[in-house]
């Protein structure tokens, strides 16, 4: 009975998608169908938790009962090991809460049956991706979810930039999907199978030029889906233009689907994480995403676009931690993945609530909403504290694990570069906090503009999913030992030890028979630095204070270049003000809280602003440069 649950969890979502169209104009029936589909899928996933996470089983389901004949897997299979289930839980939580939120949030739009059809297809696509045990099926699911996400991005096609964002997302998405498909084809031509478990055995210690090329293409393809650095502008555009409930899915679920793909490729399919240069390049990509994401976020004027850039930054943390290839690093990465889903989901829902109440997400126009929307403000603060990594909330736990993991990596390998990663991670965390101070100041505090005097708190059906997310954020922060025991540790064990997966799919002893060797078991043991150990805290504060000093000292030196008579047509707010009345009234807008900091680093910010030119050809060029670089790099190191 239980082995049918994975396919049912996918099928009910697709079934719901097509039944939604049949409901026609009957709103109540349609909402019931959508809710039932999402709930049923979550319940099926929840039933899998006990056998897989606690008892340690791996469930394999062969569609049409096409099980392997003579050690050759021809049929399509779904495999649920602890890692798959970890991501499936993450997907079903985010989909359920975002779906419930959208019942009320989207109620002012028309053609909602199409919205919910696409929404459920998107959910089904992601669910299919994370449960599939077959490379080509992963490609199909990637395509389904890209289509649905593109169409949903353009759903409010009257809103500013929605069509443009959707088109850019489609072009970059097609580059990613093409890479995945070419990689799959090359692997098929070498090994005549598409099954992940069989490929993993055949590929072990078998890196020829063809498989290295396939590896690069697959890695690039899933990196596009995770929106790490050279592919990030499309995510920012898409998240800013899409309805908030869809932004939750794009930012929290689709990026995680890409991360899942990367983990499957590097840890499972090619088992190549023992290569130090590969670890280096993944950590480098992650660190760049972290830094570029947060600095771009500091310069944003739109609430949702700012959140989108933070999402890139947080996915950078996950990528960095995954790239470390230590048990502690993977633990931190997966923990941060689930935390990012919770707090970023909450923040996007808050942005949706603000948009629902006021009709804008422009930070310069908003202000003082805490008086009118106290609950949304409180929820936003919980999300903001979580993402900035303040102690009692969940972001702190996972960021702490990542700091510790990068630092231990530096100590273990005697490589000072990884210690720099720790420092960058800390600085990025500080800048995240700064950026959220800006948002809370310009949206929820400060002066309430006259046109928002009559704004009302969002309706209860929208607040319920937000409160649930907030409760999960606090829960994941206060009870890390339970999260570890039931979710993270089994998943980390599955990442580090691939033997169970292969044994479950191809029958026990397959790897030994074909490759003539056992699959080595890696240790997933690690010592955790105490959360409340005073010495560690002292070190943390010392580093943070150093970071502040570096920022403020560099600011102090550079600021001497500004003169009161600065000609150059700069905004008068950059001038030194002595006394008397200014001729021109200079107003610091809500989005401009850190204008001094931004002014001092204006060369960097101007460069980044110009680089994100909004021209799709440029973004495509970045993508191909990344692909070419990865091909050259991987051929050199292997």
């Amino acid at each position: 009975m239980i082995q049918h649950f994975p396919i049912l969890a996918i099928m009910v979502l697709f079934l719901g998608a097509f039944l939604t169209v049949l409901c026609g104009k009957n709103k109540v029936l349609r909402n019931i169908v959508v809710f039932a589909a999402m709930l049923a899928s979550s319940v099926f996933i929840a039933f899998l938790i006990k056998p897989i996470m606690i008892d340690g089983e791996v469930i394999t389901y062969w569609l049409g009962n096409w099980s392997p004949v003579a050690d050759y897997a021809i049929g399509i299979c779904l495999v649920v090991d602890q890692l798959n289930l970890f991501f499936a839980i993450l997907v079903s939580v985010a989909v359920l809460l975002a779906g419930v939120f959208s019942f009320k949030y989207m109620s002012r739009d028309d053609t909602l049956e199409k919205y919910f059809t696409l929404f459920l297809m998107l959910s089904g696509g992601v669910m299919g991706l994370v449960l599939s045990g077959d490379l080509f099926n992963m490609f199909i699911m990637v395509e389904i979810l890209t289509f649905a996400a593109v169409a949903l991005t353009a759903f409010r096609n009257r809103s500013e930039g929605a069509l443009e964002a959707a088109f850019k997302y489609l072009v970059i998405g097609v580059i990613g999907s093409s890479c995945i498909l070419i990689g799959t084809t090359i692997l098929y031509s070498q090994f005549h199978t598409l099954n992940l478990a069989q490929l993993s055995v055949l590929l072990h210690n078998n890196l020829q030029p063809a498989t290295i090329l396939a590896f690069t293409l697959l890695l690039t393809g899933f990196a596009v889906k995770a929106f790490v650095v050279p592919f990030h502008p499309v995510e920012a555009d898409a998240n800013a233009a899409a309805p908030s409930s869809v932004s939750v899915i794009i930012s929290c679920v689709l990026t995680k689907a890409g991360i899942y793909g990367i983990i499957r490729i590097v840890y499972f399919l090619f088992r190549s994480m023992n290569l130090a240069p590969l670890q280096f390049i993944l950590v480098l990509i992650g660190t760049l995403s972290m830094f570029i994401g947060v600095t771009m976020a500091l310069a944003q004027k739109d609430f949702k676009r700012l959140l989108a850039f933070h999402s890139i930054s947080q996915v950078g943390y996950v990528m960095t931690a995954i790239g470390l290839a230590t048990a502690l690093g993977v633990t931190g990465g997966l923990y941060h993945a689930i935390n990012h889903t919770l707090f970023k989901g909450l923040l996007f829902l808050c942005a949706g609530a603000v948009f629902y109440a006021t009709g804008t997400t422009n930070l310069d126009k908003l202000g003082g909403l805490a008086k009118r929307m106290p609950q949304t403000a409180a929820l936003f603060l919980i999300g903001a504290f979580s993402i900035s990594g303040l102690p009692p909330f969940n972001g702190f736990v996972s960021k702490w694990l990542i700091y510790q993991a990068t630092y231990e990596k530096a100590v273990e390998f005697g490589n000072i570069g990884y210690a720099f990663v720790t420092i960058i991670a800390l600085v990025v965390s500080v800048m995240t906090l700064a950026s959220f101070i800006k948002v809370s100041q310009s949206v929820f505090f400060g002066q309430l503009p006259d046109e928002f005097k009559e704004v009302r708190e969002t309706p209860v059906p929208m607040r319920i999913p937000m409160w649930i997310m907030a409760a999960l954020c606090v829960g994941a922060g206060l009870l890390p030992q339970y999260m570890m025991r039931y979710l993270i540790n089994p998943a980390v064990y599955a990442v580090m030890n691939v033997g169970n997966y292969i044994g479950s799919v191809m029958g026990p002893g397959y790897a030994e028979k074909i490759a003539g060797q056992t699959v080595e078991a890696y240790s997933s043991e690690f010592a955790l630095a105490g959360y409340w150990s005073p010495i560690s805290w002292l070190a943390l504060f010392a580093i943070i204070i150093c970071a502040f000093f570096i920022v403020s000292l560099s600011g102090g030196k550079l600021s001497k270049k500004i003169h009161s008579d600065s000609p150059s047509g700069l905004d008068p707010k950059y001038d030194t003000f002595f006394s008397g009345e200014a001729n021109e009234h200079s107003q610091v807008g809500g989005s401009d809280l850190f204008w001094g900091f931004k002014h001092n680093l204006r060369h960097y910010f101007d460069f980044m602003h110009n680089a994100h030119s909004g021209v799709i050809s440029d973004y495509a060029l970045w993508a191909f440069c990344f692909l070419s670089f990865m091909i050259v790099y991987l051929f050199i190191i292997v």
Binding site: I140, V150, F167, T185, S617, A620
Partner: protein, 124 residues
């Protein structure tokens, strides 16, 4: 033609498919007209389809259509799996093109241009 000659000729398919993929990728990054970008996406797709179907080719193999009685260990046929993959990929490619073209129509109505250099309200 002998088997080895056919076997040698299949390299033409691989060269052709890589060539198509390269042209498509070049079009996507070098052309500013979004219509041409969509065409580039289509060309990449055709290149990949050619690549997949060439992978399944066995020189001298027959079409993979048999009843269960005709199958014996000596039957030699081309690999049917890549053909199934190609069909799926063609369908997906058609969907991509349709979705992209519908977006292009809407963008043309909204922006009044097809120049990617002017379709950049979201930037920075």
């Amino acid at each position: 033609m002998s088997t080895s000659e056919v076997n040698g000729l299949i390299i033409v398919n691989y060269i052709g498919s890589v060539f198509l993929i390269a042209i498509g990728f070049y079009t996507m990054m070098a052309k500013k007209n979004i219509m041409k970008i969509v065409i580039g996406m289509g060309i990449v797709d055709y290149g990949i389809n050619l690549l997949i179907v060439s992978v399944g080719f066995n020189p001298g193999g027959t079409a993979p259509i048999f009843t269960i009685n005709e199958l014996d260990p000596g039957t030699f046929f081309v690999d049917p799996v890549p053909q199934a993959l190609t069909l799926t990929s063609i369908v997906i490619g058609a969907c991509v093109t349709a979705l992209a073209l519908s977006l292009v129509i809407k963008i043309k109505q909204e922006y009044g241009t097809l120049d990617a250099g002017q379709i950049r309200r979201l930037r920075g």
